[in-house]
Amino acid sequence: MNSGVKMENIDGTQNNGSSGRIIGRNVTELRYRTPYNEDVFLGEILIAENDENDRRFLLRVFDIEYGAEASSHDWPERTAGNMLVMEQSNHSFELHDKDRRLFKVGVCSPLGYIVNTTEFRKPKTIPPHFSRIRKANKDDYTVLRQFMGDIIIGDLRSGEQVVPFNVGVRGMDFPSHIGIFATTGMGKSNLMKRLAVAVMESGRHGLLILDPHGEYFDGGKAEHRGLNHHPLAKDRLVVFSARDLKGAVGGYNKIKISAQEIEIEDLMQLYDFSDAQRDAFNSAKRIYHENWLMALLEGEIEDLVIDLVGTFEGSIGVIKRRLMNLFRSKILTKDKTISISDQVYDALVNGKVVLVDTSNMGEAEELLVSIVLARAVFERNKRTFADPEEFKKLPEFLITMEEAQRVLSRIAPGGRNNIFATIAREGRKFKTGLCAISQQPKLIDEEIISQFNTLFILGLADKGDRNVLRDSAKQDVSQLSNEIQMLMPGEALIASPFTPFAIPVKIHLYEDFIGSLNQNRGAQNNSSKTEMKNDEDVDRNLGEKKIDDGFF
């Protein structure tokens, strides 16, 4: 309890105690009065407390209203009318005693209450009448520590204030899937980069990033930073790319997919093939076995018509044209010894971040790479599941998919049976999570989106998109519509069943974060008596320290 005692705010300033008093409402909505000159912001986290018991209620402001000491409801209209009249006639006027006559009403959702300092309970009761309201401080946030995971992505946000309290998700929850939803420019890529390096720093989970925009390796622009700039990139980042990459600290691999790695079902997820064309694929597989794809791609139509009995020339022509179009960038190889799937899987098993840069590919080709890899990872984990001992050793995997509505909508090729939809439905059991990134969540199949346990909700301009998230979030975010609408770039809400309420967060700006790492590295260099022989040593040293000592 804090009966008028001065306390320290989270930012070190003095908390002068009460900034308001509860005035009523009910168990799902609390309203409080605060002086008119007291700043109140949407999303602000406050404490309601009293002298009658030791419960501290955590509240979140979800609306702000005007209040006035007037018994008639039209008082503001009349007063404003007088002001207008006086302005129009160039007369001065006052509004005396604003402190007494005017106030604000903060409308809050009770998030829960703290008892015995460390126990957090759902708000099944209400604070006593006229409980004091104050801003939350360090002590109040401490109780949330138990809900924060090892994958740190930002700091807690209270209204407009960023609280130096790390917010993260649990890597062990990756298989329960993650959704990242935001309008363009609201910080999806920044969040992904921050998430990726958190996984690198953790070293305990596998993350597969499919990057069709080429923005994660080096940031895409000169002023941006990418995963390659992180000190741990050399050891923890494995890069595949079909384009040339400069300055990759750990080198990179050219994307090459062996024809044997592609299954018929992969192609079905790219195009709508007719029944006759599907039959042709199946016939080819039956006749050419593992060489079916190259045979269709390189064989002469006349020969194929003979081999694939009952298949018309027209069907084969369509198949050949699509395949030729698909493999224009020559990522396909006949070399059976090459397997990108194996390399990717091995890296993931070793707790690394795998970046697959498909930015110079056509959309179908990029999707094919994504599908092949996602399926390969999922199938391998599924097979390992049969061996409990081996399965236990597997880390949790997360596969990211940009523009996820392309593959997770009802009308996506392959429909509900495409590999991404399958992972969304079944991946949890096999330690394979999907991280869907989209600016149009309303286009994603409702049943699929309901599988995403953790939602990162960033600024979304479209009401339809917000409504979809409201309905599918594992926290009740129905009262947060105003806040979601007002989210600034980099601000987010994390709704998941693993936290007691949707956590407001300010995602670390990736460039600042990398900058701070370099500063730390510089400081460490200056203070350390040990001579580092080269950058490699410095990086390794920093990486070890972060992992072992708990950097955050």
Binding site: N82, M86, S89, H91, L95, H96
Partner: protein, 354 residues
């Protein structure tokens, strides 16, 4: 049959409505050579005097920037319980002093006084309070219990006003809610004393009435004067109008005016200035007008509005006091049943079912 009857009722109502408007129109058109300052008590008759309002009675004034202190006094009273043969009332009076648009001091005197008034104790109660304030016993006392309560509040207000005279100094103002006309027997003794003391200390004592009983024969005078003032000065000028002088009258302790304190306000107020004060009325109005530009109470002195809101006994307070009284009654073995029996009123039931 029923339709015809309803039609007849409607016609009757229509006729009554038209008669009402005819009556009001006649009032508005009325001009009379006499003005009546209506008495609001049985203890005095109304004062009638010659209507000599002319164009020359109207003057404009400039809003002053001078610094001075301005005190405002008001009171509030309400019946809390009604036992038929007795009432339990609450009353209080308060004051505050503004200095340069800011509150300097604020006094409530006291928070709320609770008083049981019955047909048996009303005379004694009244006499005691009267004597305490005026120094001698009253020559009469009110018969109605509610009027006794209102008088107790009035005494409290004047008691506060008298204390303010002690606290303030030359050039300061005391504003009271209402006129400076004695409407209670022997109240003139008190007024005489306070006005003289105020004059002695150089304090301007002013009464401002939210509602006025000044009238022509039947017609309200204030509206008439407002119309005339706006006709003369337009709608964007502060002005005041001097009401004809009848200073020989022993009830009147103020020179009476009607004033428009802010250029843009639609409201004008009867304003009485201590009759012994020889300061130019335009100076008094200019200074009061300094406090009349609050956007909510445009044209009315903000300190009076403030103290009015502060001392008013509202529903919530009445309910709180009534609840506490009942709780104490239970502690003193008055059963809830008897308590309800004592104060039940079938009007409450009727009102709840409208």
């Amino acid at each position: 049959m029923v339709g015809a009857a309803l039609n007849m009722i409607d016609q009757q109502l229509n006729k009554q409505l038209k008669d009402t408007i005819t009556f009001i129109k006649a009032l508005l058109d009325e001009e009379s050579d006499t003005i009546i300052d209506e008495s609001d008590s049985d203890e005095f008759n109304s004062i009638t005097f010659k209507n000599s309002i002319t164009k020359d009675s109207f003057h404009t004034f400039k809003i002053s920037n001078d610094k001075f202190r301005l005190a405002a006094v008001d009171g509030g009273s309400q019946r809390i319980l009604n036992g038929g043969s007795f009432i339990v009332g609450g009353y209080r009076a308060g004051a505050l002093i503004f200095n340069g648009q800011k509150i300097e001091t604020e006094e409530l005197s006291p928070a709320v006084k609770i008083q049981s008034i019955s047909f048996n104790n009303r005379k004694e109660l009244y006499s005691e309070s009267f004597k305490q304030l005026i120094g001698e016993p009253p020559s009469d006392y009110p018969r109605e219990l509610m009027l006794v309560l209102q008088r107790l509040r009035t005494f409290e207000e004047w008691s506060v006003a008298a204390r303010l005279v002690d606290q303030l100094g030359r050039g300061d103002f005391i504003l009271v809610d209402g006129s400076l006309k004695a409407s209670i027997n022997k109240q003139d003794i008190l007024f005489q004393r306070i006005m003289s003391q105020a004059l002695e200390k150089g304090i301007h004592f002013v009464g401002i009435s939210k509602r006025s009983t000044l009238r022509f024969h039947h017609a309200p005078l204030i509206q008439y004067i407002k119309q005339k003032g706006e006709g003369l000065f337009g709608k964007a000028q502060p002005w005041f109008c001097e009401i004809p002088d009848e200073m020989g009258h022993n009830q009147l302790f103020g020179n009476r005016y009607v004033a428009k304190f802010h250029p843009m306000t639609p409201f004008v107020f009867r304003t009485d200035i201590n009759r012994y004060d020889d300061v130019e009325p335009s100076e008094v109005f200019g200074k009061i007008a300094q406090y009349c530009s609050d956007a909510t109470y445009l044209g009315y002195p903000y300190p009076l509005a403030y103290i009015h809101n502060k001392v008013v006994i509202n529903r919530a307070l009445i309910d709180d006091i009534a609840y506490r009284l009942e709780a104490i009654a239970l502690e003193h073995d008055i059963s809830g049943y008897n308590w309800e029996l004592l104060f039940q009123n079938f009007h409450d039931i009727l009102d709840k079912n409208i």
